[in-house]
């Protein structure tokens, strides 16, 4: 081979690999803007168009606000709302930080842990330091804004709560003479009874990414105890964790606990009409039973989440519940704050239009009244949902790493392959520790 050919060879090789590399993940730049840290310095307030990013569900909020406030010049942009951990918002903000422009003024996110990255990225404006009065902030349900609070400063506002409750089919319960369980022990016993008396029927589903949030969180399993801005304690083998894992394993083996996702086509086709009970968040009622499963009116009831026998402090889990953020770079802080306050507190939207349980207590009352008046539910849903709103267990936090993603990648494939959740607890532990460390967390593990 001649020298010339060798040179050509290198050149061709370079071109071949280059094109691919350029298309791939080689986008680079300086590290993001430093954390907002100390005092907040707003950008020069020049006004202009208010840019609002919402998901398709929250589009109604932005549109209604625009209708009621025609004087505000708005640019409403719909995006995926960061649902399913798509990281769209974080990706875009990281790029905007690099280019120094492009940030939206207000953003809705379906994820609860946005503050964990958005605060260090310098994207969010502190809301309780002059932008929104404390009297207004006091109107939120207990701990509702915990995911938004970093070192005592509130960086976002909770849109809706996703406290878990026990949904059940009132008609079947009465028909078969069953009592709605109040403890996890009773719940498991009833599941085992259903397996023999009414095989094919379900008492829950554990195939979703939020299985750990419905069962492990509610059962006080301390797998995800966020103890500081960058500190987490991980314990997946405590008594509460192994008890809950054992409960799920028993019911999965009995086939009364589904291992399919409640949003999958096979669940909808084969199992949706076989639900006797299902622990799940407040939005299951409208989104799942009424919307996806088309369960007829008058059948679905709500009961408090079961508790461990002898445990006197009731606890429930939480599955999502979106947040609203105001950009620290906004040149329209007043308009942005007005919109934010309206979108999270107004009866017109939160009370009457919003699909989920409003995090703002006054709006929640209106919302609950409307739900009861709809006549869809078998009994009054107000009491169990209102009580659960204040019982979300605070031993589980909102880290930057996604608990849903970790469970989905670590535990779900094992369950699909026939392993028990109990046997996967150590792998779950290691995975949480690894992801937490990668995101810069100090990890204490037990």
């Amino acid at each position: 081979m001649t020298v010339k050919f060798r040179a050509a060879l290198v050149a061709v090789g370079a071109v071949l690999a280059l094109g691919a590399a350029a298309c791939g993940g080689s986008s680079s730049g300086k590290a993001g803007t430093a954390g907002s840290g100390g005092t907040f310095k707003p950008a020069a307030q020049t006004g202009g168009t208010l840019t609002v990013w919402v998901d398709s569900t929250r589009l109604a909020a932005a549109q209604l606000y625009q209708k009621q406030h025609p004087e505000v010049k708005m640019d409403i942009v719909t995006y995926d709302g960061d649902a399913n951990g798509s990281n769209y918002l974080q990706t875009k903000v990281s790029l905007f930080n690099r280019t120094g422009s492009g940030w939206p003024d207000v953003v809705f996110s379906a994820e609860n842990n946005e503050a964990a990255w958005a605060v260090p990225a310098g994207f969010t404006a502190p809301l309780n330091k002059g932008l929104i009065p404390q009297a207004t902030l006091d109107g939120w349900a207990t701990n509702a804004n915990a995911p938004c609070t970093v070192d005592g400063t509130v960086y976002c506002l909770r849109n809706d709560l996703s406290q878990t409750v026990l949904w059940y089919n009132d008609k079947l319960m009465k028909q078969w003479g069953y009592q709605v369980p109040t403890t996890w022990e009773q719940y498991q016993a009833l599941g085992q009874k259903v397996a023999t008396e009414h095989p094919g029927y379900l008492v829950g589903a554990a195939g979703d990414t939020f299985t750990p949030e419905v069962y492990m969180w509610a059962g006080k399993c301390g797998a995800n105890q966020i103890t500081g801005a960058k500190a987490v304690t991980v314990d997946t083998t405590s008594a509460n964790c192994t008890k809950m894992a054992g409960l799920l394993d028993t019911l999965i083996l009995d086939k009364t606990m589904s291992t399919s996702s409640v949003f999958s086509s096979d669940f909808d086709k084969n199992e949706a009409d076989k639900i006797l009970m299902m622990p799940g968040p407040s939005w299951y009622g409208g989104a799942l039973f009424q919307g996806t499963f088309k369960t007829p009116a008058g059948q679905i009831g709500v009961a408090p989440m079961p508790q461990w026998a002898g445990d006197s402090s009731p606890s429930v889990g939480n599955v999502g519940g979106g947040t609203w953020l105001v950009s620290a770079h906004s040149k329209n802080l007043k308009a942005a704050t007005d919109f934010l306050t309206w979108a999270t507190t107004s009866d017109d939207y939160q009370g009457k239009l919003a699909p989920g349980y409003p995090a703002y207590t006054a709006a929640a009352k209106t919302w609950l009244a409307a739900q009861s008046a709809s006549g869809y539910y078998a009994d009054d849903i107000t009491a169990p949902l209102t009580a659960a709103a204040d019982q979300v267990w605070t031993g589980w936090g909102y880290g930057q790493f996604s608990q849903e993603a970790i469970w989905a990648a670590t535990v779900t494939p094992g369950v699909n392959a026939g392993k028990t959740i109990t046997s996967l607890l150590p792998a779950w532990h290691d995975s949480i520790v690894n992801y937490a460390k990668t995101d810069g967390y100090q990890v204490a593990s037990k």
């Binding site: 081979m1 050919f5 060798r6 050509a8 060879l9 290198v10 061709v12 090789g13 370079a14 071109v15 071949l16 690999a17 280059l18 094109g19 691919a20 590399a21 350029a22 791939g24 993940g25 080689s26 986008s27 680079s28 730049g29 300086k30 590290a31 993001g32 399913n84 798509s86 990281n87 974080q90 990706t91 990281s94 990255w117 260090p120 990225a121 195939g207 979703d208 990414t209 291992t259 399919s260 996702s261 949003f263 999958s264 086509s265 096979d266 086709k269 084969n270 996604s402 849903e404 993603a405 989905a408 990648a409 779900t412 494939p413 699909n416 392959a417 690894n434 990668t438 995101d439 810069g440």
Partner: protein, 289 residues
């Protein structure tokens, strides 16, 4: 006028390509190399970004995943593309070749992501048009189909379906370039179809096969769209940080660490270069016939 600058049209075309290559190939690559050796404050850091990437708990599994995928993908590409092209060549006399070439090419005409979306439906036993096949293989749910152990095969299937048609068309063209007299002589000498393929057609296709392997290798190491979409569709059960490119993406946008992300990209570039160099050197790719 014409004599002043012969072939200027050719230079014009090449110039446009060179400009695009520099703007979207060379400059971004130089930028990536720069970031791979610096930190967030633009200080030179030597190889520390590379060691940070290599010591990440996701790195070794990602290398294994991509390596396994490349084995499946390159083997299927070489065997099936060459085999199908030879079949196509034999059928050309019967007039079905054109229809088949068109058929092979259709999946390639779908954009990459759209092709993957089609497969997401095909692989879900509840909605798949071939659900009977999936059930016969013991898969009742989407979760069982996308089990981690099956991903290299699934990604190979998807990549083959979306990418192989174009190569079959290329190989078919190359086979047509083999002088008719050579094939004719082989037939007169009593060579069977298999002997003709093995002793004459495949050796004469060698450079095209090498070319295909080099490009497919470089493309294969960049595995991203298939696992990324599958991760979204399977809500994370499969593939969220499966490949090196996904890991690089995660470093850049999840961990806000573009420098380590760039280090992974540079490693992929190096691997692509070295493999291309080895193949080219050993095959005499640029030797004059």
């Amino acid at each position: 006028m014409r004599a002043l600058w012969p072939g200027r049209a050719g230079h014009g075309f090449v110039a446009a390509y060179v400009v695009l290559l520099i703007a979207f190939g060379v400059v971004p690559t130089g930028y990536a190399v720069y970031f791979a050796f610096t930190d967030g404050n633009a200080r030179f850091t030597g190889l520390s970004n590379f060691s940070r990437a290599a010591s990440d708990f996701r790195f070794v599994p990602a290398v294994e995943h991509v390596a396994l995928y490349l084995v499946f993908w390159l083997a299927s590409l070489v065997i099936l593309v060459v085999g199908l092209s030879l079949l196509l060549q034999r059928m050309s006399a019967r007039g079905v070749s054109k229809a088949l070439r068109f058929l092979y090419y259709i999946p390639g005409a779908l954009a990459g992501a759209a092709g993957v979306m089609v497969w997401l439906f095909v692989l879900d036993p509840t909605v798949s048009p071939v659900s009977f096949l999936l059930r016969a293989m013991g898969f009742d749910t989407f979760g069982q189909v996308v089990a981690p152990g099956q991903l290299p095969v699934l990604f190979t299937l998807i990549a083959f379906w979306t990418g192989a048609g174009g190569w079959i068309v290329v190989m078919h063209g190359a086979l047509n370039n083999i002088p008719h007299e050579v094939i004719e002589a082989a037939r007169i000498d009593g060579a069977s179809a298999w002997q003709t393929a093995r002793r004459i057609q495949i050796p004469m296709l060698r450079k095209w096969i090498i070319y295909m392997v080099i490009l497919a290798f470089a493309g294969g190491t960049q595995l991203f769209v298939e696992p990324q979409l599958l991760a979204q569709a399977s809500v994370g059960v499969a593939g969220r940080d499966y490949s090196l490119n996904q890991l690089s993406y995660d470093f850049a946008f999840q961990n806000n660490d573009v420098n380590t992300a760039a280090a992974i990209s540079v490693e992929l570039l190096l691997v692509g270069l070295v493999v291309a160099a080895v193949f080219v050197a050993r095959s005499g790719f640029f030797d004059a016939d």
